[in-house]
Symmetry: C2
Subunit: 146 residues, 2 copies
């Protein structure tokens, strides 16, 4: 039997789960309204733009995005249709496939980044002091690994 | 022009946004697989179960859940169909409507709570020490208010 949360744990958990959920909704809504991109689109564009040759194997992309293989396949299919990425056999060994950022995808990312940055600052970064932000960063890096 | 994030801010932000997104997905997937409830269903059941008379005005419920009015209307409609809540004219003044937890809704919440608690502990609470949890609780309470 799992031990119930203490009152302090309960308070912190409820603040986190309700507030971070609302934050994700706001990030998604603001980004879509300004650019037509979803947060999933945006993350794929960011991760590919930072990869060597702006390309990543599908499996590696899934790992980076914490997506299941079927979810990343679906996500990339919708982005191929919109011309944001290409899908091709892996360049190095021809086994499996990789997603490649297109010039149009890079241009959309560059147009979206300043708008998204403003939401990120207004609704998160600028509300925390440096120490709080460091704790949040450390905690969520640990949660991701777990 | 919005100032770009510093490297430290960037690292913390990316850890938070990617990891909390994956956490919400896990909470939703685990809850649905075990109980058929979504996280939105679950939150409505919790909030109503704690309200006096197990009932809340729709507008108050929207505020508590950080939902838009149209989203809360849609959410309650789906829960009425499944017998988890009733919708009725407000008891005190007959203006507007309120959502009322049904016995079936309470029973589903009581069955789901221990399963959900295990995911919450395993994927979040038990990975943080008391001080980190207090910082996260304080920060996200502030973000919710902003």
């Amino acid at each position: 039997m799992t031990a119930p949360l203490s009152p302090d744990q309960q308070t912190s958990w409820r603040a986190f789960v309700e507030s971070s959920w609302a934050l994700h909704t706001r990030l998604e809504d603001d980004l879509r309204a300004a650019t037509g991109l979803s947060m999933a689109d945006y993350h794929v564009l960011v991760v590919l733009s930072e990869a060597p040759g702006r390309r990543l194997r599908m499996g590696e992309l899934a790992g980076r995005l914490v997506f299941s293989p079927s979810r990343v396949t679906y996500q990339i299919t919708t982005m191929v249709k919109r011309g944001l990425v290409r899908k091709q056999p892996c360049a190095d060994d021809g086994r499996g496939s990789e997603a490649v950022l297109t010039d149009a995808g890079l241009a959309q990312l560059e147009a979206a980044a300043p708008l998204h940055l403003k939401t990120v600052r207004d609704s998160f970064i600028d509300l925390l002091d440096d120490e709080e932000l460091a704790v949040v960063g450390r905690v969520f890096a640990r949660i991701r690994k777990a």
